[in-house]
Symmetry: C2
Subunit: 656 residues, 2 copies
């Protein structure tokens, strides 16, 4: 029983350090950690193929801790194994026990919940908001499949956490795509935060569910080293057997394993201190003796078949005209009008050829977003991931793909992107490089009504543009193209940029305002018309409505400027200069609720103290269905006539 | 077979009108409708206990169409049955066939997706963003259980839609709470929007899943009237049998039933027009003959046991001091400091006694939000709904509770509220009355790190404050109390207000700034200190940091005003007047990303043209773990020293 006794010894050590580091931090989850002590020990000391000195090796197996609060047990193992850490990737160093004791300190890389970006590369993504890790694991596994890497991706999920529907979206995708490289491990310790888990989340019910979803679920004792090892081996054997169902492991464990005084209700997220800690450690010591824990066997850690994949060469993407020519879509240009969502489809298709790391993800609306241009091309189809009607899963899969060095483009209706806002924020926190395309943005889709309209989306994404990520970049770029050339160019620009972007595309066909020669950049804007009396700032569909308003105002002898503010953030000073040239009178237009580009302009203007006036037009009542875009613009007071009237009012003029 | 032949005849009529109304609209989903023609006919013409003349009768069975895009079939039945509709509840009138033909028109109550608020009271909630209806049905069923009403709640879900994890969160809750009044009906027509459904969403796999979750799943032919009726009867029989599992129905159907030319891939969301429509209708006619459709039996519709519940009387809630006294919690006041989340718990507890319609919902953090004050009281416990770690479900359950005339209070970490943003928006669109309490808001929780911090939340909710709902109210109120008295008072104010509110509570204990006599209103603010040199505008925790900054600035001889802006929206003119009194210099403070109260002030100031200056301090880099609140404030540059320095810079002064 030397393997068992050695794993027991490791487990006791990990559990102990869990208590010590959370006591030092003054918060954290030692009992959840203890429930995972054996599983962590078997995985990290024996079963996984990886190198502590090289935690990011592309061939190494991965471990995603979806139940992020249990991270002290992983930190404990990393400290003992000397896993490389450090805020500066050029200066990684082996983690020590002293590092572990800095858990949750402001100047420590040892975060309260897993996060690679602060300097802990062992983790692939930030977790801690529950239910997301299995989808991240799927993304890593799909990236590996594309790169022909045979690595496995282990994912530890809590039993209480298994109530999150996203877990089951992910299980569906594992079964559908036969992603046997992913190994879900459900840690059934019986307790959630505020209570015992529900009868729906017992090990037995979870096992039955996994089987009903088409997985081969192994129910084991999560503190029995041999049972753990055997279940993991069963997973390994099934990995390349097309006749085997993907294997999942359901582990019955004890929260606070080894320390009776820390078990039962009331110990979630509470470090033991003083006498309580002494007792917990003493009990662990006694348990250690009882289970015969002795480190009498050498465990093996290491990589096999560690040939790094050859990076695929990226080339310059075609221009819009070239791509339309190549793909037989010249009708898009010759028709005089083209929807921005169609141009996005062409651009994504072109990127499929020029950018071998681009992966396209869909949530069953590829024929509406035009991501189907990529899907229908057999040359590219293996880099298309159909996530079905399960947006949460899609965005976390994208985070995993990014960690696997892919460039995921996720497209769905802008309205449905909101289903994954938490997943998107966690991906931002992870430092992921991913792109979101929200089609049918704003009110212009009209007929389907507000259940399909994105209305507070610009406000939410704009909030991220006001803050910086670890690289000193805006945490998001928000892009709102108004014509097909611009949509095409911005899609290519997103692929070139290493960071999160959100682009809104439109349902209706719109006129061309730009051409092949026009250049667009993240952070840019375009002065479409100069003018001295007033400046209209708009983006997306509203640029077209503004153009019509300019005609009305011109007929009244007014000289009105028009700025296409297609990016957030933008160049504050340049916008203030333009406003200064336009009499300090600014009118902003949006097809969404407030807090978007109007507030962005208001922020800049009010900070300047220049005394300019900003009037904002946006959707000021909850919209409804209407048969045409014009119906909706009139209903919300946002058509060219409304705009012209507002401009005249600002200039204290009456309509001619 | 007269029941069958009559239902077939109804089904043909409903399918036909589905084609006609979507053709008139120019968009919509006739083939999804046709797949539901028999199920709709059996439910609405025979099985449900309800009255077309009284669609909101509290005793009537309910039908939630989760697959909202299939609504034409429901509209067709409502038009034939003369169900009451109308934008003005005082002037309802029976729906006609002509009304059906106004589908999706801007001046019609017949929306593109179900929505009660535009004038269609048969529906309980807006649907169309998928996966939410079953949770709404749960809310309706819980409300009925509280009111001792024996009604049943039918919910039609698409097979593609069943990929959404929220559906399975809801199934878990049905099984856990034994909510046999809910009847999930999965419509397995085999096609989603862009493709056939996955092998994970076949009728057989969905049946196996439902069984694994603990339901009794009846797999039937969804075009066989007798099979439908028998399955529904089995559901009825199980409703009050504690030994029966809750029954669900899985119906195999044909998308485009009755019209071969409309079946198969490529017909989702596409009305048939011209010759295509003529063919579809002719095929339906032929099918009608083939299945022996003859309306030769009188179907029965009506209510039984329709005794309306007696409304429960509401009384005035206790004050904070009275409540602390009653509940044995005087220590909260005597300690000198009290967290706003604690005061919320006391207020919720008090409302439990004074407001019999208040229902408390939790997502497994009741010991952190202090909703457990309500849960632990046996007098109130039957109005506490533990939704476990499944936030999406929680918010849609709240929408259902509101439709059942309850006042739901949903509490969880502010960070995890984002999991339900789509559900929240759909509830807003529905006109629901619900309250959200996000605890541990902003950065001040510190140690757990950004996976538990709400950072773009104020921007998102603020976006709703800029628009109006059907009642002409702001679509949301955002409340950020800074002390326990204020948190208590605002919780009571939320209960009194009929509409959506979001209140942020804080993890740390904070000093008392107010007392029993102070009054707080939605839309209000409080001038805590007058001042002529500059005005600081803050809310929540930042009010305390601002107070400390005032001391620093006062020592330098500066006279700085402090406004507690605890509500969004607020009184624009009053704030401008205060700014005018303070030299037109405004400094805003937030513990979240931008787009919150700073932008709200910037909007008002820049619209005024008064030339005031607004500098905004907020979280300008993605935060990390730190062991104390002060660590985080220093890390993000938001502590009293930083604030004082920014104020001095605005006044072009240097620190003394």
């Amino acid at each position: 029983m030397s393997f068992d006794s050695t794993i027991h010894a490791k487990a006791v050590d990990l559990a102990k350090l869990g208590y010590e580091m959370t006591a030092a931090a003054g918060s954290g989850h030692p009992t959840s950690s203890a429930s995972l002590a054996h599983i962590t020990a078997v995985l990290m000391y024996q079963h996984m193929r990886w190198e502590p000195a090289n935690p990011l090796h592309p061939c190494s197996d991965r471990l995603v801790l979806s139940a992020g609060h249990a991270c002290p047990v992983i930190y404990a193992a990393c400290a003992e194994l000397g896993v490389m850490i450090g805020a500066d990737p050029q200066n990684w160093r082996p983690m020590t026990r002293d590092d572990a004791m800095t858990l949750r300190a402001i100047d420590s890389v040892v975060e309260g919940h897993p996060n690679p970006i602060e300097g802990f590369p062992f983790f692939d993504a930030a977790t801690g908001s529950l239910g997301q890790g299995l989808s991240v694991a799927i993304g890593l596994a799909i990236a590996a499949r594309i790169d022909n890497l045979d690595k496995r991706v282990f994912c530890i999920i809590g039993d209480g956490e298994a109530r999150e529907g996203q877990i089951w979206e992910a299980v569906d995708q594992i079964a559908e795509m036969h992603l046997s490289a992913v190994c879900p491990i459900i840690n059934c310790n019986g307790y959630a935060q505020s209570d015992q888990v529900s009868k729906q989340q017992t090990a037995e019910v979870i096992t039955a569910k996994l089987e009903a979803y088409g997985l081969d679920a192994k129910l084991i004792d999560g503190h029995n080293p041999t049972e753990i090892q055997e279940a993991l081996s069963a997973h390994a054997q099934a990995q390349f057997n097309p006749d085997s169902r993907p294997v999942a492991i359901v582990a019955k464990t004890v929260k606070g394993w080894g320390s009776a005084s820390q078990q039962g209700h009331g110990h979630h997220g509470k470090p033991a201190t003083g006498e309580d800690m002494a007792q917990a450690l003493a009990e662990l010591e006694a348990t250690s003796v009882q289970v015969g824990a002795t480190a009498d066997t050498t465990l093996k850690i290491g990589l096999m078949n560690a040939e790094r994949p050859v990076p695929k060469e990226q080339t310059e993407a075609l221009t819009f005209l070239q791509a339309c020519e190549k793909f037989g879509q010249k009708d898009l240009i010759e028709g005089g009008k083209c929807a921005t969502r169609r141009a996005y489809g062409v651009a994504l298709h072109a990127l499929g050829y020029s950018h071998p790391d681009v992966v396209a993800l869909d949530a069953d609306v590829k024929n509406s977003t035009f991501a189907e241009d990529f899907y229908k091309d057999e040359e590219l189809n293996d880099r298309f991931v159909e996530c079905r009607i399960a947006e949460q899963n899609m965005f976390s899969v994208a985070a995993g793909l990014s960690a696997g060095n892919k460039i995921p483009f996720c497209s769905t209706f802008a309205k449905f992107v909101v289903r994954g806002y938490d997943q998107i924020e966690m991906a931002v926190n992870s430092g992921a490089n991913f792109k979101i395309i929200g089609s049918h943005a704003g009110i212009t889709l009209a007929a389907d009504g507000p259940s399909q309209m994105s209305l507070p989306d610009v406000a939410w994404f704009r909030s991220f543009t006001t803050t910086q990520n670890k690289k000193g970049q805006p945490a998001f770029y928000v892009l709102q193209p108004c014509d097909a050339y611009q949509a095409y160019a911005l899609t290519l620009a997103m692929a070139e940029y290493d960071g999160p972007c959100y682009m809104r595309t439109l349902r209706p066909n719109v006129e061309f305002l730009y051409g092949e020669a026009d250049q667009f950049n993240l952070g840019g804007h375009e002065l479409l018309a100069p003018g001295r009396d007033l400046m209209i700032v708009a983006s997306g569909y509203m640029v077209h409505e503004a153009n019509d308003a300019l005609d009305i105002l011109d007929a009244q002898g007014l000289d009105v400027a028009l700025v296409d503010l297609y990016s957030l953030p933008f160049d504050d000073e340049a916008i203030l200069d333009l406003a200064n040239d336009a009499n300090g009178m600014i009118l902003t237009l949006e097809d969404n609720y407030g807090g978007g580009i109007g507030s962005a302009i208001a922020d800049v203007v009010s900070a300047s103290g220049d005394g300019f006036t900003v009037k904002q037009m946006f959707v000021k009542k909850i919209p409804k269905s209407g048969r045409s875009t014009d119906d909706l613009l009139a209903y919300t007071g946002l058509n060219a006539q409304n705009i012209a009237a507002q401009a005249l009012e600002m200039l204290q003029l009456t309509p001619a």
